[in-house]
C-alpha cells in the first residue's frame, strides 16, 4: 500500500512537472514566434531603407523592385508589400495556432492525468480512513461480548455456583460465542459486499420457503422468552433473487426484530407478504423498542446504535441491517423502516421485483 502510494505521488509529481514544462514550452514558443516576427519586420525595414537609398541614388523603381521583390516603392517611399505583410502575418498566426493546438492538447492530457491521479489518491485516503473507522468499530463491537465471556468465566472460577447458576452462565457464554461468530460472519459478508466480491445469482425463489427456513432456525431462540413469532407468507410468491442472499436478508431482518422486542422485555414479531404492482413485499412488524421517525435511514448504516437492544443486544452486531440494505440493492430491491417513535414498535418493508412462477 505504501509503495503504491509512493508510486502514485511520484507519478503525480512527474505529471505536474510535465505540465509545467509544456507551459514553459508554450511560453517559449510564443516568445520565439514574436521575436521571429519582429526580426522579419526589422529585416524588411532594412530592405525598405535600402530601397529608398537605391531610389535616391537614381536606380529605377523597376530595378529596385527586381532586387527587393517584397518591397513596394511609390513616390520615392519604400514599404513592405501587402502580400509579404500578409504572408508574414499568416505565418505568425499559423505558428500560434500550431502551438495552441499542440500545447493545449498536451496540457489537457496532463490535466486529465493529474485529475485521475489526484482522484485516486483522494479515494485511497478515504478508503484508509474508512478502514480505520471500521477497525475501531469492529474492535469495539468485539470487546463487549469478549468482556461478557471473560466475566462469566472468571465468575465460574471465583465463586462456588449452584448447578442452575452454572447452567445460566454456560448458556450466556455460548450465546456470547454465537454473537462473536455471527459478528465474524457479518463482518466478512459486509466486507465482501462493500468490495463487490459477491457473485449473486438472479433466479425465481419462493419467499415462503426462505421465511420458513429462517423461522425454524430462530424458533429455538425465542423459546422461553416472552416473544411471539407469527408468519403469514402464502406459498407461490416468487421473487427474483439469490437464494442464499435471500436467506441472509430474511435472517438479518428477523434477528433485528427479535433484538428490538427483547430490548423491551418481550412482545410480538409478525411477518407477512403480498404481491403488488409487479413487486413482492415482505413486511416485518415488531412491538419492540422502535426508533425516532427521523432515524429510519440511519438504521441501515454500519454499526448504528439508536437504542439499547437494537444493534447492541445479545445477538446484535450493528451490521445486520447494513447487509440487508446492500443485498437488497444488489437484488434491485429496496428496504424501508418506519416507526412512530421510541417504544412504538417498528415496521420493515422489503420489496423485490416479482419473478414468474417457475413452470408456468
Amino acid at each position: 500500500m505504501k509503495a503504491a502510494r509512493v508510486f502514485q505521488l511520484t507519478a503525480l509529481a512527474l505529471v505536474v512537472i510535465s505540465a509545467a514544462t509544456v507551459g514553459w514550452w508554450l511560453y517559449d514558443a510564443h516568445t520565439y514566434a514574436v521575436e521571429k516576427m519582429q526580426a522579419a519586420r526589422a529585416l524588411y525595414a532594412g530592405q525598405a531603407r535600402a530601397a529608398e537609398a537605391l531610389l535616391a541614388a537614381g536606380v529605377p523603381e523597376t530595378r529596385v523592385h527586381e532586387l527587393l521583390p517584397d518591397i513596394t516603392v511609390a513616390q520615392g517611399h519604400a514599404a513592405l508589400s501587402a502580400q509579404a505583410d500578409g504572408e508574414l502575418r499568416a505565418e505568425h498566426a499559423r505558428r500560434h495556432r500550431q502551438y495552441a493546438w499542440e500545447g493545449g492538447f498536451f496540457l489537457l492530457a496532463l490535466a486529465a492525468c493529474i485529475a485521475v491521479i489526484a482522484r485516486a489518491l483522494r479515494a485511497e485516503a478515504r478508503v484508509l480512513e474508512e478502514q480505520d473507522d471500521f477497525l475501531a468499530l469492529v474492535s469495539h463491537q468485539f470487546k463487549t461480548p469478549l468482556a461478557s465471556l471473560q466475566l462469566s468465566l472468571e465468575t465460574m472460577a471465583l465463586r462456588p455456583l449452584e448447578p442452575e447458576q452454572a447452567r445460566v452462565l454456560i448458556e450466556r457464554m455460548l450465546a456470547d460465542l454465537a454473537r462473536m461468530e455471527l459478528m465474524v460472519t457479518q463482518i466478512l459478508e459486509s466486507v465482501r459486499l462493500e468490495r463487490g466480491r459477491v457473485d449473486l445469482r438472479s433466479e425465481p425463489v419462493e419467499l415462503a420457503g426462505a421465511v420458513a427456513r429462517v423461522l425454524a432456525a430462530l424458533a429455538e431462540r425465542v423459546q422461553g422468552q416472552r416473544i411471539t413469532l407469527e408468519s403469514d407468507v402464502a406459498p407461490g410468491l416468487y421473487v427474483r433473487a439469490d437464494p442464499l442472499a435471500l436467506d441472509v436478508i430474511v435472517r438479518n431482518i428477523l434477528e433485528n426484530a427479535l433484538a428490538a422486542v427483547a430490548a423491551v422485555g418481550g412482545g410480538s414479531v409478525a411477518v407477512s407478504a403480498r404481491a403488488r404492482d409487479g413487486e413482492i413485499e415482505l413486511t416485518v412488524r415488531d412491538s419492540g423498542v422502535g426508533f425516532r421517525p427521523a432515524d429510519g435511514a440511519r438504521l441501515f448504516e454500519k454499526f448504528t446504535r439508536l437504542h439499547p437492544g437494537r444493534g447492541s443486544s445479545a445477538y446484535g452486531t450493528g451490521l445486520g441491517l447494513y447487509i440487508v440494505r446492500r443485498l437488497m440493492q444488489l437484488a434491485e430491491g429496496r428496504v424501508t423502516a418506519e416507526s412512530s417513535g421510541v417504544g412504538q414498535g417498528a415496521r420493515f418493508v422489503l420489496t423485490w421485483p416479482a419473478a414468474a412462477v417457475p413452470g408456468t
Binding site: T144, E154, G309, A314
Partner: protein, 243 residues
C-alpha cells in the same frame, strides 16, 4: 426514594449489553451490594433525579446520552455520586476524558472480575471514609481564615462572602488536609486517599487542585497562608493561617 442506609450500599449499573450487565449485577450482588440496572443514559439521568446510590458503574458507549455526557450532567447538577467508567475504548485519551468528565475511575473492557471488584471497593472505601469523616456536626464543618466549608453539602462560603460549590475531589482533598492540619501531607498520600492507586498518571494533578482551592479560599492566592507548599514533598494546611 431510597433511604440513605439503602443507598449507601447500592450500585447503579448503566450498561446496554444485557449479558455484560447481568454478569456485573450478579457479581455485585454476590459481594453484598444492592444493585439497580438501566440500559440507557437518559433513563439513568431520570432515575438519579429521585433515587440515590453509592456508586454508578457507567458504560461510555450508551445509546442516546453517552456515559461522558451523563457524568458531566450529573456533576453540573451537583450530583457527586462516584462514577466508575466501563468502556471498550481504553486508550489514554479516553481515560483522561472520562476523568475530566468527573469520573472517579476507568476500566477498559474486557476486564478482570477481581480488578473490577477491587476498584468498586476502593471507590466506596474512599467515600465511606469521606462520609464518616464528615458525619458529626463538628467534622462536617470547617472554618478557617473567614472561610466556612460544609463537607456534607459540598458547599462553602469564602472569606469575601462568595458562595462556592466544591467538586467531590476538592472537598476530599480539603478533608484530608483538614484531618492533618499543621502536618505535611505528601502528594502521593493525597493521590492515594482521594483518587486511589493508579487512576491518575501524575502528582501534578494534586497541584492543580491545590491551586483551585487557593483561588477559592485564599485572600491572596499567590501568597497563600493556609494551603502551604512544602517544596519537594507536598502540602501543609494551617487553619489559623501562617502568621
Amino acid at each position: 426514594m431510597s433511604t440513605s442506609a439503602e443507598s449507601a450500599r447500592r450500585v447503579l449499573v448503566v450498561e446496554d449489553d444485557p449479558h455484560l450487565a447481568a454478569g456485573v449485577l450478579e457479581n455485585l450482588r454476590a459481594e453484598g451490594y444492592e444493585v439497580a440496572h438501566l440500559a440507557d443514559g437518559q433513563a439513568a439521568l431520570e432515575w438519579l433525579q429521585s433515587e440515590r446510590c453509592a456508586l454508578i458503574v457507567l458504560d461510555v458507549m450508551l445509546p442516546g446520552l453517552d456515559g461522558f455526557a451523563l457524568c458531566h450532567t450529573l456533576r453540573d447538577q451537583g450530583n457527586n455520586t462516584p462514577v466508575l467508567f466501563l468502556t471498550a475504548r481504553g486508550d489514554p485519551a479516553d481515560r483522561v476524558r472520562g476523568l475530566e468528565a468527573g469520573g472517579d475511575d476507568y476500566l477498559a473492557k474486557p476486564f478482570h472480575l477481581k480488578e473490577f471488584l477491587l476498584r468498586v471497593r476502593a471507590i466506596l472505601k474512599r467515600w465511606d471514609w469521606y462520609r464518616s469523616a464528615s458525619a458529626s456536626a463538628a467534622t462536617a464543618q470547617l472554618t478557617f481564615g473567614g472561610n466556612e466549608v460544609d463537607f456534607r453539602a459540598f458547599r462553602a462560603r469564602a472569606w469575601n462572602g462568595e458562595a462556592q460549590e466544591l467538586t467531590e475531589k476538592e472537598a476530599m482533598i480539603l478533608k484530608v488536609l483538614a484531618e492533618h492540619a499543621g502536618e505535611i501531607v505528601s502528594r502521593e498520600d493525597l493521590l492515594e486517599r482521594v483518587w486511589g492507586y493508579d487512576v491518575y498518571p501524575s502528582t501534578r494533578t494534586v497541584d492543580n487542585f491545590i491551586l483551585r482551592l487557593r483561588k477559592r479560599f485564599e485572600r491572596d492566592p499567590a501568597n497563600p497562608r493556609h494551603f502551604l507548599t512544602v517544596w519537594g514533598v507536598g502540602y501543609r494546611f494551617l487553619v489559623e493561617g501562617e502568621p
